[in-house]
Each structure stands twice: as C-alpha cells, then as structure tokens.
Amino acid sequence: MTSMRTLPHVDRVGVAERVAALGKRSIKGDAKRQGLLLAISMLDLTTLEGADTPGKVRQLAAKAVTPSPAYPEMPSCAAVCVYPAMVSVARDAVAGTGVHVASVATGFPAGQTPLATRLEEVRLAVADGADEIDMVISRDAYLRGDDAVVRSEIEAVKDACGDAHLKVILETVELGSYDHVRHASMLAMDAGADFIKTSTGKAAEGATPGVILVMLEAIRDYVERTGRVVGMKPAGGVSTSKAALGVLVLVKETLGDEWLTPDLLRIGASSVLNDLLLQYAKTESGRYGRAEDFSKE
C-alpha cells in the first residue's frame, strides 16, 4: 500500500506556492494570543547536547512546567525531550505535573548503531520513565530502497516502546525529495508510528513549511484510508513565534482544528519558547519586552 507507485507525486513548485500563500495568513489580536498559548502547550522543550547535565535538565523541566510565573493562565509545555541518560532526572523533575518525558533513542541522531543496541536503548529509556520515544529511521536503508528494513525496524521499536508513544523522525532533509518525504511518512505510519516527526535538529535543515505540508497531507490520506489517527511533530527550525504560528496555520488548513491539540501536534524546539513568551507579553502589555525579562532556562 505504501509502494511509491501507488502514491501520487508531489510537485515542488506547487508546494512552494501553497506554503507561500498560507505564510501570508495574518494572525492578529485574540487569534495571536490564543495561538501563542496553543504553541506553548504543544512544545516538546528540548535539550540534546553533549554538555547536558542533571542540573540543566532540571532547570529545563521547571521551565516546561511553568514557562513564566508572571502569567498564571499560561499552560505547561507538552513534554521535555532529553537523551536517554537524562530520562530519570527529567522524570523526577516533572513528576505529577502532567508534563511528559520524551527521549530520543535509537542511536540518535544518525541511527547508525546495531538494531539490538537501538532496541535496548529504547527499553532502558522507557524503563527509566520516558513515556514518549523519538526514534530515527534508518536513512541508510531508506536511501538504498530497502523499505522492508525501514518498516520492520520501526515495528520492532514500536514493540520495544510498550505503552510509550512512538514518534518516528524521518530526517527529511536527508531523504532528497518531497516524493520520498511523503512515501516515508506513509511507511512510518503503516509501521505503527503514533507521531511522525520531521527532523532531528542536528542536520543541515529542519522542519521547513514545505516538508510540514507534505507530511500533513500524508497524515490526512493515511487517516482517511485506515481510520487510525496520527500526530505530527515539526522539529528543528521552528525558532520564532511567527514560524510556530505558521505551523498552526498549516495544520489548521490541512488537517483541521481537530489536530490543534498537544495529543496530535507537537513542536520540537528549545529556543522558541522565549520568543513565544516575549510575543505573549507584548499582546498583554502592548510593548516589546527584553530577552532578559524571561529566564533563559
């Protein structure tokens, strides 16, 4: 069902025009305030650095739970997203708050480790308290054309996840074309992905509006075909409020308002939160604030 032959082609020029048109939507007033809060509630607040320490993860988690004490109406972020070694720290830091713990596993970001160790990594992260796993697909297998391997690996990871939600990262910039992005999206959903996710944030390019649109269209077609609802996570590159509101517009006008919930839409980012806070503060006070008005972490 997901062979390339049965999927319609994607026209790059048409995609560019559509995202340019949707990029001109004017989001003002209440729509902007609501959109900013919505975007905050969908954030997978992320730190994925070699230099991450328990202290840094705890600070990030605190910020995810309470993005800004100045605005009690502000929701928590959806999750904190960390490397497997930091899962237990994050779990303790968000315990009882409703904020999820997501972990990138499976040899993130390259995925170039043996399947056995990737699966073990997933099991350990889940055992430590991750309730969401962000895996990378094997771009090596995908680019060789071995769809069966890509699919069976996703199925194996899904199995290793147990009750944890699985987000499948396509790393779209490495797939080479929108046709591949659409096809890989279908492959991941057929293999059991709960979410499909654009990027690791570690490659040359992250979530572009074009890639997001093509993946959303794949989700819409998959849901129509199977009835199973799948979520979307743009990650990497959504670094401004404008970009985050742009994601909401793309989702609203492609999948509809039903997808505008943290259960079905996440935005993977670290630096965007402070811009969302600044913009929100501006809608409240009518003037632009300073970066120092908010804690960095």
Partner: protein
C-alpha cells in the same frame, strides 16, 4: 480546539478618495453633464460620484488624443520610455492605496489586489518601457519594408474584473510604441483608472497623450466608432462581435480579448494535491471573474472520485467574506447584475441535473455574494458546461483517454486558456500542442507575466497582449 483567525482588515485610513471624479481629457480633470455613483459591492455603499462620458465628451477626448499624437510620436523611444518607467514607479509608490481602492471598488480580496493586480500592473509598465527604444527588435521587419510607426490614436475599452491591470495591459504597449490613447474603464470599477490619471499628471505625461473617459456601454460604443486608428477591447464576446461589425470595412486596427470556458485537465499521473490547489486557483481566483478561469474541470476517470473529494474538502476551507480582510480568499461578486447572471446560469444547471454542490458558509447580509460551487455531474451538453458563468462555479466532467480529454477540451466555442496537470513532460507537450487555446498552463494555472503573450482562439478573440507579440497590434509597418 477551535482556533479562528481574528478579523485582519487592511487599514483604509490613508486612502483619500475625492467625492467626485470628472473626465480626464487633455491632461486635466473636466466636468461632465452627468454623474453616477460607483459602489462598494461588498457593502453596497457609494464610494464616489463618477462622470459619465457622453458621445460628445468621447469625441473631445479623441480630439485631445489626436492633437497630442504628432508630438508624442516624434519623441525618441528613449524619451517615451522614461515616461513609461515613471508611471511604473509611481504605481509602485502608491501601490498600497491602489490595492485598497481596487478592493473597495471591485470586491476582490485585498491579498489579490495587493499581491497580484497592482504589482503586475506596474510590471507591465516596466516591461513595455524597456521596449520603447528597442522597437526594431520587438517588431522584426523584412528589409524591403520601411520603418515601424505608431498607429496614431487608439481607443481602449477595458473590463471590470482587473481594472488597473487591464488599463496597464492596454496603455503600456500603446505608449511605448508612440500612440496616444483614449481609455474607457468599466462602469462598475472606474476608480483605479482615475487614480491612474492622477499618476499620469504626476508623471508629467504630455497633455492629451492619455485620456480617460468613464461611463457605461454607450461611451464605449461611441469610442470604438469614433475617429480612432485602432481599437482594443477586452470584454464579452457579444460586445466584441458588435465592435467587429461596426469596424468592418474601415482601416481601423482591432484586437479583441473576449470570453472563455477554459478546460483544466487533470491526468491520473498528476501531482494530485497540487492539482487540487491549481483547480481552486483556476476557478475561485477573483471570484471566478477571470476570462481565462479554469471553469471546466476535466478529470481522468481513474482519479475522478479522489480529486472531487479532495477538491470539495479543500473548498470548505475557503474563507469567503470581507474583501479588505487579509485572510479572505473569496470576496464579493462585482455587481448586482453579475450576481443575477451567475444565479440564473446556476439555476439552469440545477434544472439540467448537473449536480450542484455549494459550500455552506455564512455570507454578509449586505453586498453581493455567491458561495463557491461545483457541478459534479456536468455533461458537455449542459448550459453550465458551455456558457461562460464568470463566477465561482466549476463544472466537473470525466474522461478516460488522452484523446477524449483533448476532444472535450476543444469542444467549445471558446479557446482562451487551458491547464494540463501531469507529471509526464512528454504528455504535457503532446496535449498542449493539440489544444486550441491561446494560453496553456502546465502544472499551474492563472499565472500571468508581462513577458508572455496572452490572447485567444475562436470566439475568445484575436490579437495578443503581453510580450513582444503585444507590441505588434500597436504599430504599422510602412508600406503595409
């Protein structure tokens, strides 16, 4: 959760319309005997009182153009080009104001007048300004023939669907080639042409080189029958026929850009997602008030259900309403008369059993509105498949083979435009060559560019506007 866009109206604060606009003759605004209001079709409120040119006024305007003709033609191409460049730049400077007025007067969404109409109008003046001193290259002449000369005085009658853009299509090549002009804007949308008159004054265009005479059909009829050397008309096929009959046997050049019922052909190997988007752009752009609108969708049977389902779903997300709102996709119908014509043809389609589906969206109480509609069971024999509706109404017909698609596309009295959607280059070229259409778009629709020639076959008219081809109707080659 439900997330609605808040209203995002474009501010009209800096737009200062006069209470009344006279006729623009001989470089100045002059009074007329009669005035009529032009209204905002989205609210039915009057915007300004507009002079209504009488036959005598039109004759005065032609005289002014005649008097200005020798001096204008005697200027070097380089000098004429400077004026045309200046007009282009002034349009850019006043772009925001022009866009708002275009939307107020015509009902089209501000995003279209802002991003398409006004920038393209400026682009046409820029493009033809560049030709002014290069005519020998734009109009190749056999060595035995003489020089390229302007025709003299041209009479130009333009439609209401792209008011400023159509004025630019007409005036830019006429001025670049050394003609003087009398332009008659449409009676429901005269305002931007009159703002253009102000721009011509600001550009210090010599008096009488362009004269603008608003009015109804009688002013247009007087103009095309007046003492002009060339007529350019864009509008309905019926009026085009009248003009051609009136000019028979006279040495008056004529170009006609008339109606259309253009086919948008979707093959099974198309990028369907983008094809659906192209279908939407093809028919709902400017409320379907587009002569080259892709109003007949021909879709290959194997993907027809999928395409129609997606199209219908996509139509639900069209935002219909206040044309000044930056998020509006479909604005107001241009006039009460046009709304009733659309209503009449759609009623005929329902009666014929063409299977109407119409988006149910809330429409403003006042003004002229028509929700986007689709006839899913349209047969080629139905009136709605043959007559130009000039509104946001699409007919859908299926085909099985390549040959059938071409046959159905060509089976129309019109031949203005067509769209082909396929991922196969060879198929696109083969089908394009078989279509009797002046314009063929591949994997896109309703894209305009001043460098590309535009014009029709059959009852869609003759002559080309745009590109180097657009120079030809405005010149005579000595010895011709």
């Amino acid at each position: 959760m439900r997330w609605d866009y808040s209203p995002a109206p474009e501010s009209t604060d800096h737009v200062r319309l006069r209470d009344r606009y006279g006729l623009f003759i001989g470089g100045e605004f002059v009074e007329a005997d009669a005035y009529a209001p032009t209204i905002n079709p989205a609210t039915e409120e009057p915007l300004a009182e507009i002079a209504q040119a009488s036959a005598a006024d039109v004759a005065r305007a032609v005289d002014a153009a005649r008097a200005a003709a020798p001096g204008w033609a005697a200027l070097s191409g380089l000098e004429r080009g400077k004026y045309v460049f200046r007009i282009a730049r002034l349009i850019q400077e006043r772009a925001r104001e022009l866009a708002i007025v275009e939307t107020l007067d015509g009902g089209k969404p501000i995003k279209e007048s802002r991003d398409i109409d006004i920038p393209l109008a400026a682009a046409h003046f820029f493009y033809y300004a560049g030709w002014a001193d290069k005519l020998a290259y734009g109009v190749p002449v056999p060595p035995a023939r003489g020089a390229v000369r302007p025709r003299g005085v041209v009479g130009q009658v333009i439609p209401w669907n792209f008011p400023l853009l159509m004025a630019a299509w007409k005036l830019a090549p006429a001025l670049a080639t050394g003609n003087t002009a009398v332009l008659k804007p449409a009676d429901t949308t005269p305002l931007t042409a009159l703002l253009l008159a102000e721009i011509l004054q600001e550009a210090e265009l010599p008096d009488g080189v362009v004269n603008i005479v608003p009015g109804d059909g009688s002013a247009g009829a007087a103009l095309v029958r007046g003492a002009v050397d060339k007529v350019a008309f864009t509008g309905s096929t019926a009026v085009g026929r009248d003009i051609q009959a009136a000019l028979a046997g006279r040495d008056v050049g004529l170009t006609l850009e008339l109606g259309g019922k253009s086919a948008n052909i979707v093959f099974e190997d198309a990028a369907l997602e983008q094809a659906v988007e192209g279908i939407v752009q093809g028919i709902f752009f400017n409320q379907g008030h587009v002569c080259c609108a892709g109003s007949r969708l021909l879709v290959q049977e194997s993907v027809a259900e999928q395409v129609v389902d997606r199209l219908w779903a996509r139509m639900q997300s069209l935002r219909v309403g206040d044309p000044l709102d930056k998020n509006t996709d479909v604005g107001a119908i241009n006039s009460a008369a046009q709304l009733s014509r659309i209503g009449e043809l759609v009623a005929a389609g329902v009666e014929e059993g063409a299977g109407l589906r119409q988006v149910s969206c809330s429409l403003p109480d006042r003004g002229f509105w028509f929700a986007p509609a689709l006839f899913t069971e349209a047969s080629p024999a139905h009136r709605v498949s043959r007559e130009e509706i000039f509104g946001p109404v699409l007919t859908v017909t299926t085909f099985r083979t390549h040959a059938e698609a071409v046959e159905k596309a060509n089976n129309s009295p019109y031949g203005l435009a067509a769209g082909i959607w396929t991922d196969k280059g060879s198929k696109a070229f083969e089908v394009a060559a078989q279509l009797r259409s002046g314009v063929v778009w591949q994997n896109t629709y309703n894209h305009f560019d001043p460098t590309a020639a535009f014009g029709g076959f059959k009852e869609s008219g003759f002559g080309r506007e745009g590109g180097a081809a657009g120079l030809r109707p405005y010149v005579k080659v000595e010895g011709e």
